[in-house]
């Protein structure tokens, strides 16, 4: 399988590279922070196809390192070391059609993961398998994606597919293993209506994960908990039930409006619904829990681009996510078959995020200012547990393109952001909880409701040869996150590669 993906990477590198062009304008267009205002629109493949004027391809070899002095989220560990190889390409086939794609392979380590023996924690939490021991895990990920878009008269049509295959495992007890397959397909359309472009797209996702934990040393066996939210566990199926799988997927609807000439009002609305069912493999696929993730997001903004390459944009964005967890109540067993006698909604989380932003760019530099508010309200219904927190935040992002010599182009990015706690609450039935679970929840609350300061910078140097479509690049970046708990995190990124 590895060979197949590497073949795809090499094939794409040379096949697309042979017809691509290399220009500074392409690099600026594809890496500029101006593109951040178009991220949601780019989920519609029809609009992605007309999103860039210039072709751009890049093969990169890089590494991401994260080190935290104390795990901010225990379930995600104290950091990672993740080298990768990746190729991205965007190419116009002719005046009407465009193709794009990417292929990547990543392998590395996640350090000191605790209270989590399941992959994709962000997606599946709180319904994960967990233990108190944890340890480092090895990660390996293959990802490929590809899309095609064309336009016929005033209509644009596009399709895109993204595939991710990932495995995470530990080679010491407790030996967790999670094998993930994640497939996303998008179909989109756009229509030019006067000076405006209307877009609509649907997205479908299929998600699978098989997850298990094994112990090779019998005397070292510890219980694996089927976590059910805010420090609760499904006691009946915790302990020695260590083989399960997740079956999920979802749908999304994306609507978009933008001015065709980059001058005017723009906006988008997205509706997403994903559901993940956790099932016990060793008990005839008995359903344990269902997680429903419903999201609605909207942006309304205004942008302007002048002939002298002065850019301005201002926008307001709102996200609301409701996460609901249902627990299946197992009846009496019959030959390892448990009938489900009831289904109860026990876990609820409401996430809200609203921010307003302003972007200004002139020539080779751009700056973005953002200020917002976010909150999380999490509840386990019975016995009642609650954890709430909210932050106000602000951030400044700057980018500058410099050309010290004819062959060299420097791209410099810097950012600073601040998250300040406005409210927090933790309510637990401590008398009925064991000490490890109390410590888990206290840690979770302490870091979720802390103040954060994030500072970072990144430099990228692109070296181009005259009369050649190929170029070399090197990129290095570092960011430091300071937490009010007197802990910190350092993220280092480095990559080298070729552009074509």
């Amino acid at each position: 399988m590895k060979r197949l993906y590497l073949f795809i990477i090499i094939f794409m590198t040379f096949k697309i590279g042979a017809t691509a062009s290399n220009a500074d304008s392409a690099l600026v267009e594809h890496t500029s922070i101006d593109q951040l205002t178009m991220l949601e629109a780019m989920r519609n493949p029809a609009l992605h196809g007309s999103g860039y004027r210039t072709p751009f391809s890049q093969l990169s070899l890089g590494i991401d390192l994260l080190r935290q002095s104390q795990a901010f989220v225990l379930e995600k560990g104290t950091g990672y070391t993740l080298p990768y190889i990746k190729v991205d390409t965007y190419h116009h086939l002719n005046d009407r059609s465009a193709v794009w794609g990417s292929a990547s392979y990543m392998t590395g380590k996640q350090h000191n993961v605790k209270w989590n023996s399941t992959s994709d924690y962000d997606l599946l939490e709180p319904y994960v398998l967990a233990d108190t021991a944890g340890g480092d895990t090895h990660r390996e990920r293959y990802a490929i994606s590809g899309g095609y878009a064309t336009h016929i008269a005033r209509w644009q049509l596009g399709a895109e597919m993204l595939v991710r295959a990932e495995q995470e495992y530990r080679d010491r007890d407790p030996r967790m293993r999670g094998i993930v397959t994640d497939l996303t397909m998008r179909l989109g359309g756009g229509y030019d209506c006067g000076n405006y472009r209307l877009g609509a797209a649907v997205e479908a996702n299929i998600y699978k994960q098989t997850n298990s934990v094994a112990f090779y040393r019998e005397e070292g066996v510890i219980p694996e908990y089927q976590m059910t939210g805010l420090g609760t566990e499904y006691s009946r199926f915790s302990g020695d039930k260590r083989s399960l799988y997740y079956d999920g997927g979802g749908l999304a609807l994306l609507l978009h409006l933008s001015p065709a000439d980059h001058n005017g009002i723009y906006g988008d609305i997205s509706l997403d619904e994903h559901r993940y069912h956790r099932k016990l493999a060793e008990f005839n696929s008995m359903p344990l829990t269902d997680l429903y993730d419903e999201h609605v997001g909207g942006t309304i903004g205004w942008k302007r681009q002048t002939a002298s390459n002065r850019k301005m944009a201002s926008w307001a964005h709102v996200d609301y996510t409701r996460r609901t967890g249902n627990e299946h109540v197992g009846g009496t067993s019959d030959a390892r078959y448990f009938p489900v006698i009831a289904c109860l909604t026990m876990y609820k989380q409401h996430l809200f995020d609203a921010h307003t932003g302003f972007l200004y760019g002139k020539g080779k530099w751009s700056a973005m200012l953002k200020a917002g508010y976010r909150s999380s309200n999490e509840k386990y219904v019975y016995p009642r547990r609650q954890m709430d927190f909210s932050h106000v935040y602000g951030g400044l992002l700057g980018q500058c393109f410099l050309r010290p010599s004819g062959k060299l182009l420097l791209t410099m990015d810097a950012h600073a952001s601040l998250y300040f706690k406005t409210d927090d609450k933790l309510s637990l039935p401590v008398a009925n909880m064991s000490t490890p679970f109390i410590q888990l929840m206290q840690h979770k609350h302490e870091y979720a409701s802390a103040n954060y300061t994030d500072l970072g910078a990144k430099v990228r140097a692109d070296l181009a040869w005259k009369q050649s479509r190929y170029g070399l690049f090197a990129e290095a970046g570092c960011s430091v996150t300071l937490c009010s708990t007197r802990e910190h995190a350092t993220l280092i990124h480095g990559s080298v590669g070729i552009t074509f």
Binding site: Y234, L253, L271, E294, L344
Partner: protein, 127 residues
């Protein structure tokens, strides 16, 4: 164009409705546990502790609030183990009223229906 917008809005509404998570907020129900000692013995009063252990969560509910031979408990829907121990005052077939120690238990009882879920347990006298 108006028709297109209308159809599109309709599709959005149908998709939104179909995508809503099934929420079951009615998580509690009522269990009424009655102790019985056979046809020839009438139970007049029970002084006992009823323990109901949720099979899935291992949460334990206790109640000593007997009314006649029954105790009523508000609990989470689910499967329970029931254990009752205490003293019962009963009128026997010969007309005598006696106070006797008893115990009764059930390894599995489902309390998932709306309204009152009834279960009757037979007493084992310990004296």
């Amino acid at each position: 164009m108006k028709h297109h917008i209308l159809y599109f809005t309709l599709i959005v509404l149908v998709l939104t409705a179909a995508a809503c998570a099934p929420v079951e907020d009615d998580i509690f129900t009522t269990a009424r546990v009655t102790v019985a000692a056979g046809d020839e013995t009438v139970i007049t009063r029970v002084q006992a502790q009823a323990k109901l252990t949720n099979v899935n969560t291992r949460q334990v509910l206790s109640s000593a609030d007997f009314e006649g031979p029954s105790v009523t408990v508000e609990l989470l829907r689910g499967a329970y183990q029931i254990n009752i121990e205490g003293v019962v005052t009963c009128q026997q077939a010969d007309g005598q009223t006696r106070m006797r120690q008893f115990r009764c238990q059930s390894d599995y009882a489902e309390f998932v229906r709306d309204g009152v879920n009834d279960i009757t347990l037979n007493i084992i006298f310990l004296d």
